[in-house]
């Protein structure tokens, strides 16, 4: 990455010493994060194994989980109804743990496009679509998404025609949202796995639409 120079490397030339990450000064909050975890483990609030597993779960929670729910909803009307009624219960049907905080799916329709935001902080269905992108937590997104959603969508390259209503949903600590996008045209007869490949994280936030079949 930092190899933007053009000399050959077989000439015995040595690069200047580059400090490793571990050589940086101990940052206060990193020490704090380590210590808080250590104290909680020492006191038996949770085990070191619990912590390790949880970090693994964070690494594993890719948008693929949410994409599976969307693809199933596209091919199974009954599942779609159950998903719209209770995302957490519908996810459990597929063996997916969506967490203890209620999540509501908001469905795009031919005349309606949905967008999610958390103006106060960063609430987000993390177990279904992974940790939120930096921009979701940013001042600009949190401020503007509810004031000028069409302009925000345009910045993401998503043009929503004026005759389509844009609905913005502001998440809270007690209720999170995910967007159920519209099934792209030209996917008749596709199976669930293939359909899931069209569903992106951003399409479940609402800043983008699912991939179009030709590009999949």
């Amino acid at each position: 990455m930092s190899h933007a120079h053009d000399h050959p490397h077989d000439d015995g030339h040595r690069h200047p010493f580059q400090p490793d990450l571990e050589d940086a000064p101990f940052a206060y909050h990193q020490v704090l994060a380590q210590a808080v975890g250590d104290v909680l483990v020492a006191k038996g609030v949770f085990t070191a194994e619990d912590l390790r597993r949880q970090i693994e779960a964070i690494d594993a929670a890719e948008p693929a989980r949410g994409a599976r729910l969307v693809a199933r909803a596209w091919i199974d009307g009954g599942f779609r109804e159950r998903l719209l009624r209770d995302v957490n219960a519908a996810a459990a049907e597929l063996g997916v743990d969506a967490g203890g905080i209620p999540i509501r799916a908001v469905a795009n329709e031919p005349g309606v496009h949905n967008l999610i935001v958390c103006t106060l902080c960063s609430c987000y269905p993390r177990l279904l679509i992974g940790l939120p992108p930096d921009w979701y937590k940013s001042r600009a997104y949190r401020s503007r998404a509810i004031r000028e959603p069409r302009a925000v969508l345009a910045e993401f390259g998503t043009a929503i025609p004026d005759d389509i209503e844009v609905r913005v949903h502001d998440s809270t600590a007690d209720l999170r949202y995910m967007v159920l996008p519209l099934r792209p045209e030209g996917t008749e007869g596709w199976d669930e796995t293939r359909l899931a490949g069209l569903v992106t994280r951003d399409s479940m936030i609402g800043v983008a639409l699912p991939r179009v079949p030709a590009a999949a």
Partner: protein, 106 residues
């Protein structure tokens, strides 16, 4: 009156769409929070995390990174609730630093 974190609807510039990979310590903070709020433990709630973040004040709020705010808030709430003490935490922080220093030297 609107507080510092309550920014919905105010004017702001373009959205910086860059993304970074989460660092191990950031995932650790996230994992700690998930374990503490898990229904089987309920040591603290997401509302409490937010209250702690909102109590940081505008200066600290803007100076800290996202997970710095989280761990600062989690620490405050845990101390407030008596789950951990300032003394335990201070001793453990010293031990962590000493351990890291030793690992670096070896």
């Amino acid at each position: 009156m609107r507080r510092h974190h309550d920014m919905g609807g105010i004017e702001a510039g373009p959205i910086e769409r860059g993304e970074h990979d989460y660092e191990p310590w950031e995932k650790r903070v996230d994992a700690i929070m998930r374990l503490l709020t898990h229904p089987s433990r309920r040591v603290m709630t997401v509302d409490e995390l937010r209250r702690g973040i909102e109590a940081l004040g505008p200066g600290a709020y803007d100076a800290m990174s996202y997970y710095e705010r989280w761990i600062a808030s989690v620490t405050e709430i845990l101390i407030e609730k008596g789950v951990i003490t300032v003394d335990e935490l201070g001793r453990t922080m010293s031990a962590v630093e000493a351990r890291w220093r030793q690992e670096r030297a070896s």
